[in-house]
């Protein structure tokens, strides 16, 4: 049920107290007009019916339908707008999904291209590396051969030079020329031992 606020209860109490004094006053002068003016009851009730009936007709026929229509119209409009917004939102989401899909495809493609290029570069690099190292090995071997040849040549010359030097030295020191064959033999033996 309806609960009256405390302030109102106090007000009602004080009002009731005043009311009693008012009634007491009224008793001296012939009662409350609300009660004593019995002859006006019919008129009050009659005009209540007339005026309230008029109000009811104006409200129910004119005022309330208008307000109801406006509120309904507004609600429809808002619902309509909301629905449109929803449609547009879902459309935007579709577009976004499409965009993201395209983006991921492009990314994959780019990744593929990058992979391929790097593979190609690596293959080419490997190839060149291989060719270069082969060439390098070849040159090394050639050089080594050349060095070996030079070395053996030098050694051969060295032996004859040594023999001649030994013979000449002996000749100068002792005054006797040794047998060249014996010198060669001795130099050979000495070189074998030293080198």
């Amino acid at each position: 049920m309806v609960k009256l606020p405390a302030a109102l209860r106090i007000a009602a109490l004080s009002a009731a107290a005043t009311c009693i004094s008012g009634v007491a006053l009224a008793a001296e002068e012939g009662g409350l007009p609300q009660i004593s003016q019995v002859d006006t009851y019919a008129s009050q009730i009659f005009w209540l019916f007339v005026t309230f009936g008029l109000l009811y007709i104006v409200m129910s026929r004119v005022a309330l339908p208008r307000i109801g229509d406006v509120i309904e119209e507004r609600r429809d409009k808002i619902d309509d707008d909301l629905m449109r917004a929803e449609t547009i939102r879902s459309e935007a989401e579709d577009v976004l999904a499409e965009y993201e899909k395209a983006l991921s495809v492009a990314r994959e493609e780019a990744l593929g291209i990058q992979q391929k290029t790097s593979d190609e570069v690596k293959a080419k690099m490997d190839e060149r590396h291989e060719a270069f190292s082969q060439e390098l090995a070849e040159r090394t071997r050639e050089a080594e051969e050349r060095i070996a040849a030079a070395k053996s040549e030098a050694l051969k010359d060295l032996a004859s030079v040594a023999s001649e030097t030994a013979a000449a030295t002996t000749d100068k020191l002792v005054g006797f020329t040794p047998d060249s064959k014996a010198v060669d033999k001795a130099v050979q033996a000495e070189m074998k031992e030293r080198l």
Binding site: M1, V2, L4, P5, A7, L8, A11, A12, S14, A15, A16, T18, C19, S21, G22, L25, A26, E28, E29, L32, P33, Q34, I35, Q37, D39, T40, Y41, A42, S43, Q44, I45, F46, W47, L48, V50, T51, F52, L54, L55, Y56, V58, M59, S60, V62, A63, L64, R66, I67, G68, D69, V70, I71, E73, R74, K77
Partner: protein
């Protein structure tokens, strides 16, 4: 000074004079006095003010409401919610009546606050007529919806059968006293408030310079009376909704 106006009782104002009904245009139909009185005039003014307000507010009926239209829509929504919450969806068809009732009582109370106007809601004949019509209508709706089953209203559901001896008379009395309490509440509140204002006004006149004290009180009481005017209209309407709910749903 003020005492010059003093009547034989010694009090400068008669607090009950404001409730006197005086005929403005005497009308007599079939021996029945249906004169157009100050009470009838203020009823007519009330209806006129409400109608003008509502029609002016909805003149343009725009989708984005202006100030006045917003007020009208606020009133509409308030009462629509009250009916929906208290009566339910079946209450929809009674909405125009409830709305008219609320505005009639509200504006009747508020216009009665204009000095030297007349408050027709401070008359028992008016409030009781409204209450008894609501009572009869609610009872008819109850019987039309539930047939004789509506009599179960007078016996709480689930109570032991033998308690009927006590409960049925109590419920019956409480049901029958509804129009009395409904009409008395409004009538007594409005009358008491207006008497209070007049009595304090009398004190102001009597006390001369010291009259500022009751004058200050008068200011507060006037503010309170505006609150009471709105609140009593609300209570009268919401109780009507509650009675309607009982008739439709039976507790």
């Amino acid at each position: 000074m003020a005492t010059q106006d003093t009547q034989d009782g010694g009090f400068p104002v008669d607090p009950l004079h404001q409730f006197e009904i005086t005929p403005l245009i005497p009308i007599n139909i079939g021996g029945l006095d249906l004169s157009f009185t100050n009470s009838a005039l203020w009823m007519l003014i009330t209806v006129g003010v409400i109608s003008l307000f509502m029609i002016a507010a909805m003149r343009h009926h725009e989708l984005v409401p202006g100030r006045l239209q917003n007020c009208a829509e606020l009133l509409y929504e308030t009462i629509a919610n009250m009916v929906r919450d208290n009566v339910g969806s079946e209450g929809r068809q009674y909405f125009p009546f409830i709305f008219s009732l609320f505005l009639f009582v509200l504006f009747g109370n508020l216009l009665g606050m204009i000095p030297s106007s007349f408050t027709f809601t401070s008359h028992l004949a008016v409030t009781f007529t409204m209450a008894i019509i609501i009572f009869i209508a609610v009872t008819i709706i109850g019987f039309a919806r539930h047939g004789l089953g509506y009599c179960r209203m007078f016996f709480p559901h689930g109570a032991p059968a033998w308690t009927a001896v006590i409960l049925v008379p109590i419920e019956l009395i409480s049901y029958l006293s509804r129009p009395i309490s409904l009409s008395m509440r409004l009538f007594a509140n409005m009358m008491a408030g207006h008497i209070l204002l007049k009595v304090f006004a009398g004190f102001v006149l009597l006390m001369g310079v010291a009259g500022v004290v009751p004058l200050a009180a008068l200011l507060g009481i006037t503010a309170l009376e505006f609150l009471v005017a709105v609140l009593q209209a609300y209570i009268f309407t919401i109780l009507t909704c509650v009675y309607l709910h009982d008739a439709i749903h039976m507790h």
